[in-house]
């Protein structure tokens, strides 16, 4: 069951939450909608679910228009950030709720609920109350409850937002495996890019009520469509400079930029990811490099995060160095080193701006 949201506009008072948004989700896909808070991602999800009505635009499930139909009739599974489990019902009754209100016969309810308890790996917890469960278990109950009536689409609003980091990582990998098993068209909203990139087939990046980019995780990471996406993906150093004659001039730093061969100069922003900067003790003079001083060394998961200040350029730089490279360099605070980008992404600013 594919989902199409066409030209959706939604305003809350004078605030435009969604500004002519069009999104297509292929049947059986798992799509992440990623964006900072206030970007309209949750509103879009709620409009797809029918919990919110758009000011204009249409929502289609497959070919059927559902824009004006009530959330009750849409047969969606919705998972809330804070679980929203029925606190006075045990796990079994929570999962059974959607079936009981549809007046399923008792034996079928029992069969289906047990099936789901197995699917979300909560065997033996059927009689527990939500208050007796951990956050991760609660969210799995919420998921089972949403899946019980075999919804056409599964919508998840920041499903792992309230969980601690470790459980979050486990649960999202589990969600990915679950999706491979049941293949229901799913859309989930998140502000955590790692989560979006790890779990989803397609990532939709939103900002200020508009979609900035849609694509596969790798595609977005390798080819960010615009400065916002680049910046939002994070771990990035921004240089302000000029493009002229096929080169980007960033202070002392000059990088080849064949896309813009014109002699006429234009202001540009250059983005270099922190793992795409190279640190060296000495420089052989091939290409250009910045001189910088190490001001901070933070060992972190997977890499060592190094903060440098380039005195000539008046710029702070963040560089991620692999642990073994860090061991070779033996960096410590106060060291003077050379920094050179291995890869630069340049966005030339429009004349209009």
């Amino acid at each position: 069951m594919s989902i199409t949201a066409k030209n959706i506009v939604k305003r809350f008072g004078s605030f435009t939450a969604l500004d002519d948004v069009t999104l297509e989700v292929g049947g059986g896909q798992l799509v992440a909608v990623l964006g900072p808070s206030g970007s309209g991602k949750s509103t879009l999800l709620r409009i797809i679910a029918g919990l919110e009505l758009p000011d204009s635009g249409t929502v289609l499930y497959h070919d059927e228009e559902v824009t004006d139909s009530h959330v009750r009739e849409r047969n969606v599974g919705f998972v809330f950030q804070h679980y929203a489990l029925f606190r006075h019902m045990n796990v079994f009754e929570n999962i059974a709720f959607g079936l009981r209100v549809r007046r399923w016969p008792k034996d079928k309810v029992e069969h289906r609920v047990n099936e789901l308890i197995q699917l979300v790996q909560l065997e033996g917890l059927g009689r527990s109350l939500p208050s007796q469960l951990s956050g991760g278990q609660r969210q799995r109950v919420a998921l089972a409850r949403a899946l019980a009536p075999s919804p056409k689409v599964l919508l998840l609003d920041e499903p792992f937002g309230a969980l601690d980091a470790k459980v979050r990582t486990e649960l999202r990998q589990w969600l990915r495996r679950l999706h491979e098993e049941i293949h229901v068209t799913s859309v989930f909203v998140t502000h955590d890019q790692e989560e979006a990139f790890e779990v989803a087939d397609q990532v939709v990046i939103m900002n200020h009520g508009k979609i900035e980019q849609v694509g596969e995780p790798g595609e977005i990471f390798e080819h960010p469509a615009n400065p916002f996406v680049m910046d939002f993906l994070g771990d990035v150093n921004v240089f302000h400079g000029r493009v002229e004659g096929g080169r980007v001039m960033l202070g002392d730093l000059a990088v080849d930029y064949p896309d813009q061969p014109h002699q006429e100069g234009r202001t540009a922003k250059a983005f270099v990811r922190s793992h795409e900067l190279e640190i060296a003790r000495s420089w052989n003079g091939r290409g250009s490099a910045l001189k910088a001083e190490v001001v901070q060394v933070n060992p972190s998961r997977g890499v060592v995060k190094i903060r440098l200040i380039s005195a000539d350029f008046g710029l702070a730089l963040n560089v991620d160095v692999a642990w073994d490279r860090f061991a070779d360099l033996r960096l410590s605070v106060g060291d003077h080193v050379y920094v050179a980008p291995r890869r630069v992404r340049v966005f030339v600013e429009d004349y209009a701006i």
Partner: protein, 338 residues
């Protein structure tokens, strides 16, 4: 520039690097562990805090004087008068006590009147109170603040004035008096008036109990229920009501206690017709005025007994509603943290 291979690549190397942790850097590891050990230390610090607070407490003499004073006041103002009610009621033996209650038709009629009016007032209050609490807790509408403060009005108005209000509305000379006489419905000086006045006076109780509870519970579960296909009555009976059932019961108990004891408003609207519109409190006062002290205390003892029963139920329910509220507010802090 060609270190890009696949889409998932940016996430993969982190794990690889973590595995290839080199010995010279291994000492950097504890830094990452440190936040956890700091969290472990936190409860200890709390323990130390309680210890130091003991030093800031008042000296024993102040403490014991205050406690003794509190007990003394309770004994003089509550315990002795309460015990006295039962003592006086039974002063002339159990036989007289029973006579005073069972063999006095006017007293019996007053007891039945109270047992009839109070439950009706409570029932009306539950319906109105729940509706008002739902409206205030779930919706934002113009006049919401006004409604919230109007709910408290009956507590601020003197019960006698409240009674008078109804007489002015439904009495013979009142606004609807003429019309009521034409359709032959008696409200003032009859039980419907008693129910109305009692309902008015006790109105805030149930709503006041439910508004904070429903606000703390939030509407998440209701939205979830609707998304699962629940219709409004299923929503009400399976989600909303069960979530506030202890709050409602607590409101019912309090409201019932207040309804049975109501004097002022009821005195005005009932006309105090002996054997017809008297309620228990009115009957107590009447017997007292007639110098029938054993009779007055007998009826009073029944009222007191009902109050004591109410108290026991109330304490039990308070404990349960507090748990409901705690659970709800715990979820809320969790929410605001996230």
């Amino acid at each position: 520039m060609s270190d890009s291979t696949s889409g998932r690549r940016p996430l993969a190397p982190r794990g690889e690097a973590a595995r290839s942790l080199t010995p010279p850097l291994a000492d950097a590891r504890p830094a990452a562990v440190r936040p956890e050990s700091a969290a472990d230390a936190a409860p200890l610090r709390v323990g130390a805090g309680t210890k130091s607070r003991r030093g800031a407490e008042d000296p024993a003499i102040v403490r014991w004087t205050l406690i003794a004073l509190a007990f003394l006041a309770m004994t003089i103002l509550v315990v002795i008068p309460l015990a006295n009610v039962f003592y006086e009621a039974f002063a002339k033996g159990v036989g007289t006590y029973w006579d005073n209650l069972y063999n006095d038709p006017d007293t019996l009629s007053a007891i039945f009147m109270t047992l009839k009016v109070a439950p009706m007032a409570v029932a009306l209050n539950v319906v109105f109170g729940f509706a008002a609490a739902w409206a205030i807790a779930r919706f934002r509408f113009p006049g919401r603040a006004l409604l919230t403060s109007l709910i408290d009005l009956p507590f601020a108005v003197s019960p006698v004035v409240a009674g008078l209000l109804f007489v002015l509305l439904f009495g013979l000379q009142g606004l609807f008096g003429q019309w009521l006489r034409e359709v032959d419905v008696k409200i003032i000086f009859a039980w419907p008036g008693l129910v109305l006045a009692t309902t008015f006076v006790t109105f805030p109780i149930v709503a006041r109990e439910l508004i904070p509870l429903m606000e703390a519970t939030g509407s998440d579960e209701e939205v979830a229920a609707v998304s699962l296909g629940a219709r409004w009555w299923q929503l009400l009976s399976r989600v909303t009501l069960p979530n506030v059932k202890w709050g409602i019961l607590y409101g019912v108990i309090l409201c019932n206690a207040r309804a049975m004891g109501e004097f002022g408003a009821v005195a005005v609207v009932s006309g105090r017709i002996t054997g017809q519109t008297d309620t228990m409190p009115l009957r107590v006062e009447k017997l007292f005025q007639e110098y029938n002290l054993p009779g007055a205390f007998a009826v009073a003892s029944v009222l007191t007994l009902l109050a004591l029963i109410t108290l026991v139920i109330k304490v039990t329910l308070e404990w349960r509603t507090r748990r409901e509220l705690e659970e709800a507010s715990r979820l809320r802090t969790l929410r605001s943290e996230a």
